[in-house]
């Protein structure tokens, strides 16, 4: 049985993003105390190697087990083992070790509260930065998708092209996940999520068309649409950075209309799957509308 708790990194980041400063301080305090105790035992067993090695084995397996079982606390469990090992081998005096732990804990708790004090500004900047990064990932993904349509090697090097899309998607997911946590809102309220879904709708074309040579008929139009989309994502970033107030979708609209004209004059007749193109064009129109609404949705 595979449980969600196996997503170690996901849970750690989720925990770091959502735990309150008070909670984090408590965890740090508990970690410090655990380190002290584990160090006392390590020191007590140090005189006899078999016992000492066995104790460190038990400590490591226990913390690793609980770190994997409660993955959101992995970092704390791992710290207990790591710091115990370092201090145990450092040949410091007891006094130095206690100072080390107490001052380390105090600095960590202080930093947590400092972040809490700076939260209003911190949060606004973090959201803005995260939005820009998400849009950047979306831009990268749209370009990777259009490369699949315009590159003649797509069918031969399918894995290479699909891997590129996968990498961009993973970037997008990690950034938008952070954005959802930072904004503490539902995903469907974010225009970035809707734009991604629409891109996925458009992306179906590459699978629905059996003969990719058909794309050579509309290659220029597709490249122009990709460029216009990239410009729109750039505009969106400017809006977030408050360098601009509007998103100009006219060029994209114009390019979509050109593709639509080409569809009725050439592709409709030449393609074996004209409906796939029509659905693609509808998806592009929906994307354009969503981009128009971007400023309002922010």
């Amino acid at each position: 049985m595979i449980d969600d708790h196996e997503w170690v990194l996901a849970r750690i980041f989720h925990h770091i993003a959502t735990a309150t400063p008070y909670q984090r301080s408590q965890y740090l305090l508990a970690t410090g105390i655990a380190i002290l105790f584990s160090l006392i035992i390590a020191r007590g067993t140090a005189s006899w190697l078999p016992l000492h090695a066995f104790y460190l084995f038990v400590l490591t397996t226990t913390t690793t087990y609980f770190g994997l079982k409660y993955t959101q606390y992995f970092i704390y469990f791992f710290s207990i083992t790591l710091i115990t090992m370092i201090l145990n081998g450092a040949h410091l005096t007891w006094q130095h070790e206690v100072h080390f732990i107490v001052w380390g804990g105090a600095i960590a708790v202080g930093l947590v509260f400092l972040q809490w004090l700076l939260i209003p500004g911190f949060r606004v900047r973090a959201v803005r930065s995260c939005r820009i990064k998400t849009l950047h990932a979306l831009d990268g993904m749209s370009q990777a998708l259009f490369v699949c349509l315009t590159n003649t090697d797509y069918k031969e090097d399918l894995y290479v092209f699909e891997r590129r899309i996968h990498v961009q998607k993973t970037k997008y997911f990690s950034r938008v996940y952070r954005l959802i946590r930072l904004k503490n809102c539902h995903s469907e309220h974010l225009p970035e999520v809707r734009l991604f879904n629409l891109l996925m709708e458009c992306a179906q074309l590459r699978r629905r068309v059996s003969d990719h040579t058909i794309f050579s008929l509309c290659r220029n139009e597709l490249l122009a649409i990709a460029k216009a989309m990239s410009q729109i994502f750039c505009n969106m970033k400017w809006v977030i950075q408050q360098k601009s107030e509007v998103i100009d979708t006219e060029i994209l609209n114009e390019q979509i209309n050109q593709l639509e004209n080409l569809f009725y004059s050439v592709i409709n007749v030449a393609s074996r799957e004209p409906l796939a193109f029509l659905l693609f064009i509808a998806g592009l129109h929906a994307f354009c509308e969503e981009a128009n609404d971007f400023c309002r949705a922010l």
Binding site: D4, F13, Y159, F173, E201, R207, L278
Partner: protein
């Protein structure tokens, strides 16, 4: 080894034994007379599943750089630290990559099963949505967020299938599976976009019962795939299931409520949404059948 089957157990033993050996070796052969060897073994043994040897080397290099930057800046002391870290890393690699090497097939299954289960759950929510048991808003809230939460981390996703050194004999099969899985994920997001665009003006009721049948059959196919991958012995077999008739019935129902001409379709956006939903469901069926066929035919999977 039995205990090496489950990831957590395997990882606990790898880390534990690596540290145990490092503590003993450190006691006799340590150059720096500190715990660098133990720390090296502990960190290198912490690798995620499926991580290639390259990942161990990256961890090792990071530690070596750290050891160089740490005072005192005496050549002898730094050299001793580097030797100890190197030995520790070697112990970590020994346990992680050689004594308890990852089993490719179980690791691959472990990587893809949570995604398949999530998609199956999403399909259930779609069934509820089309049968009016779930509102559009709640459907989108639950589905998108869960999918993003799962897919945002690639710690479990079998990325190693794409690694340069991955077994060339197995590569094509595994990559094929992953690409098909990605296609399914994309279709689900596309469906989210289409369901999000469904408004009161669109009469879903005309095809909702047919969509329900197709979705249930797709869910059954997901179940079959999951059962096969998780080696569940109690595989449900339903011979009465009709995997072509339901799609034909859906297309027939669709033809009765949307214009046939492509020119007319462009002025009927609601019809376009219905067509796109049906097309996505058809594509989903096709890919699912392809996946089941390939995984059933491949004993490895």
């Amino acid at each position: 080894m039995i205990f090496a089957e489950r990831f957590e157990t395997r990882q606990v033993f790898i880390v534990g034994f690596a540290v145990l050996l490092a503590v003993i070796v450190n006691d006799y052969f340590s150059f720096s007379h500190a715990a660098w060897m133990v720390v090296g073994a502990l960190i290198v043994a912490q690798l995620a599943r499926g991580a290639p040897l390259r990942q161990s080397l990256i961890y090792c290099v990071v530690m070596l750089v750290f050891a160089i930057l740490l005072p005192p800046y005496v050549i002898d002391a730094t050299r001793n630290r580097l030797i100890d870290i190197g030995m520790g890393a070697l112990i970590g690699v020994l346990f992680q990559q050689i004594l308890f090497p990852m089993k490719i097939y179980p690791a691959f299954r472990v990587g893809v099963l949570p995604i398949l289960r999530l998609l199956q759950n999403d399909l259930q929510r779609e069934i509820y949505f089309f049968s009016h048991q779930l509102s559009k808003q709640i459907y989108l809230q639950q589905s998108s967020e869960r999918m993003i939460a799962l897919l945002q981390s690639d710690s479990l996703y079998p990325e190693w299938v794409y690694a340069v050194g991955f077994n060339p004999g197995l590569r094509a099969g595994f990559r094929f599976f992953l690409i098909q899985l990605e296609s399914i994920v994309e279709i689900f997001f596309s469906l989210h976009a289409l369901i999000g665009a469904v408004s009161d003006a669109i009469d879903l009721d005309v095809i909702s019962s047919e969509i329900g049948v197709v979705l249930k059959n797709n869910e059954y196919l997901f179940g079959t795939l999951i059962d096969h991958l998780s080696e569940c012995k109690s595989q449900k077999t339903n011979n009465s299931i009709d995997l072509t008739g339901d799609i034909v019935a859906l297309e027939n129902a669709l033809e009765q409520c949307v214009p046939v001409s492509l020119e007319l379709l462009t002025i009927a956006p609601s019809a376009m949404i219905l067509i796109a939903i049906v097309r996505d469901l058809k594509d989903l069926r096709e890919i699912l059948l392809r996946l089941i066929e390939s995984s059933m035919g491949n004993d490895a999977l």
